[in-house]
């Protein structure tokens, strides 16, 4: 009986303590004033997205090195703290965010590749009043329905991606499309984006196959796709799913009978495919082979030194730009106060040595979404000048022109007093 007695007593004890604890003021979070300026990166280092997280980290580390060489942030050196958010366990990502913010007292938080985690982190940084740059989660809600004044994003919304490539598909390939859609928000929003493009051009959606995430066998979906006889089969996947789907599509010889295309594509995926499966028309968010854009060559060379010779991907660039944005915001606003920095970034144009793309990208006022250049092109098995040149850019689209206007994104930004 002793256990129960103690249990009851401590319940009362607990209630008393809770009552007392109310009197303690809620934690305020002021910016740090001495020591190095800390930037926290909460990104996946294990699991499915490990490669992407790692590449973003490399970009961040290079940026930190450059920033410190140029005098740091407000005269203080910058330190990057990296925590593994894991690829699937949002609880872990949340825990790490608290660790970085509460224990390590970071002034900025970068992350996450995983859209769900990016949203969860946004809630935490908004509560703590810290500037957050989303490095790689694409779900529209981040700068749409779930936008926050302190959260900025450097990668594109799904609508920007679909709008940039639709014109090419409609004019070059045809108007009858079949969709193979991964069954999560990313896939659904891409699908909606393409649907809008089709409607505007009087095209037809012949059908859609929803594939569960992590599907290993796409044969039944491909069987259905080819039965409808489309002009284009659109693959909306990312990462491992895209690799599996394309590999099998090519094994079935579907690339010989239909056009294969989609929206987002990444160099990591093309690298993971056997050469014969590097096909299709896609959108890249940044590409390393830009001979006419200044500063890109130096960036490529510098990253190559850190990756054992491999060229940087969009993920390296995301990490690089996110970190530099922190420094530019602080130095520009002459303060580490998140509100002041966020105000400074409204409409801010990235300098060319950071932007590394034509048509100076800027953070759009009202939803904090970066408006970069998007690269529409086609995959190739091997480059003519460089074996790593796996993507041939045909068109460059201006982000600001293909994005939805702020009023249609669902973003209602609330600034603190």
């Amino acid at each position: 009986m002793s256990d129960f007695k103690i249990g009851r007593r401590s319940i009362l004890k607990g209630a008393a303590v809770v009552g007392a604890a109310q009197l303690v003021a809620p934690r305020a979070r002021a910016a740090s004033t001495e020591g190095p300026v800390k930037i926290g990166l909460d990104d996946p280092m294990t699991g499915t997205y490990a490669e992407l997280g790692k590449n973003e980290q490399i970009g961040c580390e290079f940026a930190v090195e450059e920033i410190n060489k140029k005098g740091g942030i407000l005269g203080r050196q910058v330190q990057l703290l990296v925590e593994d958010s894991t690829s699937a366990d949002t609880g872990a990502a949340v825990q790490k965010a608290h660790k970085l913010i509460d224990r390590d007292k970071v002034d900025f938080l970068l992350g996450n590749v995983n859209s769900a985690m990016a949203l969860a982190l946004g809630q935490i940084t908004n509560q703590a009043g810290i500037l957050q740059i989303v490095t790689g989660g694409h779900t529209d809600a981040v700068t749409g329905s779930d936008c926050h004044w302190n959260v900025f994003r450097v990668c594109n919304t799904t609508r920007m991606e679909t709008n940039s490539v639709s014109h090419t598909l409609l004019t070059k390939y045809g108007k009858k499309w079949y969709f193979i859609t991964p069954d999560y928000a990313f896939g659904h929003t891409l699908h909606s984006g393409f649907q809008a493009s089709l409607k505007a051009a009087n095209g037809t959606e012949l059908g859609e196959s929803l594939t569960p995430l992590g599907t290993t066998d796409y044969s039944s979906y491909l069987i259905q796709a080819q039965a409808t006889n489309p002009d284009v089969i659109i693959f909306l996947h990312a990462g491992q799913d895209m690799i599996n789907a394309l590999k099998q599509a090519v094994q079935f010889g579907l690339d010989k009978r239909f056009k294969i295309a989609g929206a987002q594509q990444e160099l990591e995926v093309l690298n993971g495919l056997p050469p014969e499966a590097r096909i299709g028309t896609w959108v890249f968010e940044w590409y390393w082979n830009q001979p006419n854009v200044p500063h890109v060559k130096e960036f490529v060379a510098a990253i190559r030194k850190r990756t054992g010779g491999k060229v940087p991907t969009a993920r390296h660039w995301f990490g690089y730009v996110s970190t530099w944005t922190c420094a530019l915001a602080a130095n520009g606003a002459k303060s580490l106060d998140a509100k002041k920095m966020a105000r400074f970034l409204q409409g801010y144009k990235l300098p060319p040595e950071i932007a590394l793309m034509p048509n100076a990208p800027f953070f759009r006022e009202g939803d904090n979404q970066l408006m970069p250049t998007l690269y529409v092109g086609h995959a190739q098995a091997k480059g003519t000048t460089d074996p790593e040149d796996l993507f041939a850019v045909d068109i460059q689209a201006k982000g600001a022109e293909v994005a939805l206007p702020v009023s249609e994104t669902g973003c209602k930004m609330k600034w603190p007093a």
Partner: protein, 319 residues
């Protein structure tokens, strides 16, 4: 002796009640403490079934997840009331446990474990495929815990900790009470020798079913609290590796001891937190840790301590 146990219990409660204060001194942060309490509750609930009744479920994450989503869905779609949401989470877990328990109670041994794994997977599957409702792989976001009356559990981490500790204390109290009762003693008898218990006229299946229900219900409560902690519902919380984590916490701390699972949860959470900052190969170390515990410390931390301290028949294990 009884004296030893009361001292032990008192010491444990003292440590728990003062946790937010000494966590900062050892270089940790309040949210970690709250996480330990919640996962400790889950492990303790699992141990009700595993350590005290002798039945291995490897699919408890399913009920954890029901609690998580029960809370999330209620706050997001039904009513922004934290307590009501928690109640919903618990009730959902309870109902599911009653139904599924009835289906599987006749199975035994490894087959039972496999079936619990499979059922766990079914719920995981529902969580990440039923996109419109659960948010699918993206999880359920856009909601947050709300203040409970005058208690600010939203911005004040300490208040949140004590809020969670309150539910922990209630649950632990109830479970301890049950274990001390004749019903609890019967469970131990079933654990020790099921056949004999049956010969004594005990309705074994009924007892296992009830134990199952109790265990799953408290795990759901833990899940609900977890959702409140993260302000997020995630299908990963239902995966079989989450189930496995609960089991390892229980074994690590000591299955035969009442507080064992909490100790195991504390060690595991802190270890994982520490290792994942230190190295990107933390998964290997955690896996290695599992292997070492199983091979060399099967009795768990508290199991080993009990062995070395004098225990002249304190009646802890029914024989």
């Amino acid at each position: 002796m009884k004296f030893d146990k009361r001292m032990g219990n008192a010491a444990m409660w003292l440590v728990l009640l003062t946790m937010p204060f000494w966590l900062g001194w050892i270089g940790s942060y309040p949210q970690l403490g709250t996480r330990v309490i919640i996962l400790g509750l889950a492990a303790l609930s699992l141990n009700f079934l595993l350590g005290h009744t002798g039945v291995l479920s490897f699919g408890h994450a399913a009920y954890f997840g029901l609690g998580v989503y029960g809370v999330g869905l209620t706050i997001k779609y039904v009513t922004p009331n934290t307590l009501v949401a928690l109640a919903v989470g618990v009730v959902v877990g309870l109902v599911a446990a009653i139904i599924i328990g009835a289906l599987i109670v006749k199975l035994r041994g490894i087959y039972f474990s496999m079936v619990t794994i499979a059922f766990g997977q079914v719920f995981y599957f529902i969580a990440y495929r039923w996109n419109n409702v659960t948010g699918g792989d993206d999880g359920l976001s856009g909601w947050a815990r709300l203040p409970v009356g005058p208690l600010d559990i939203v911005t004040n981490e300490r208040t949140m900790f004590y809020f969670v500790l309150f539910f922990f204390a209630v649950s632990v109290g109830i479970m301890a009470f049950i274990l001390r009762s004749p019903f609890g003693r019967t469970l131990v008898a079933i654990r020790e020798n099921e056949r004999r218990a049956g010969f004594l006229g005990i309705p074994v299946d009924l007892h296992i079913w009830l134990s199952w229900i109790i265990s799953c219900t408290f795990v759901s409560l833990a899940g609900g609290l977890y959702a409140l902690l993260n302000n997020f519902a995630d299908p990963h919380d239902l995966r079989w590796d989450q189930s496995g984590t609960f089991v390892i916490m229980t074994v690590l701390g000591g299955m035969r001891s009442f507080w064992g699972p909490l100790v195991g949860a504390a060690i595991f959470v802190v270890l994982q937190d520490y290792l994942s900052t230190l190295t990107q190969n933390w998964q290997s170390f955690i896996g290695l840790f599992f292997v070492l515990v199983v091979l060399f410390f099967p009795r768990g931390v508290l199991g080993m301590l009990h062995r070395t301290s004098p225990s002249p028949g304190d009646g802890k294990t029914a024989k």
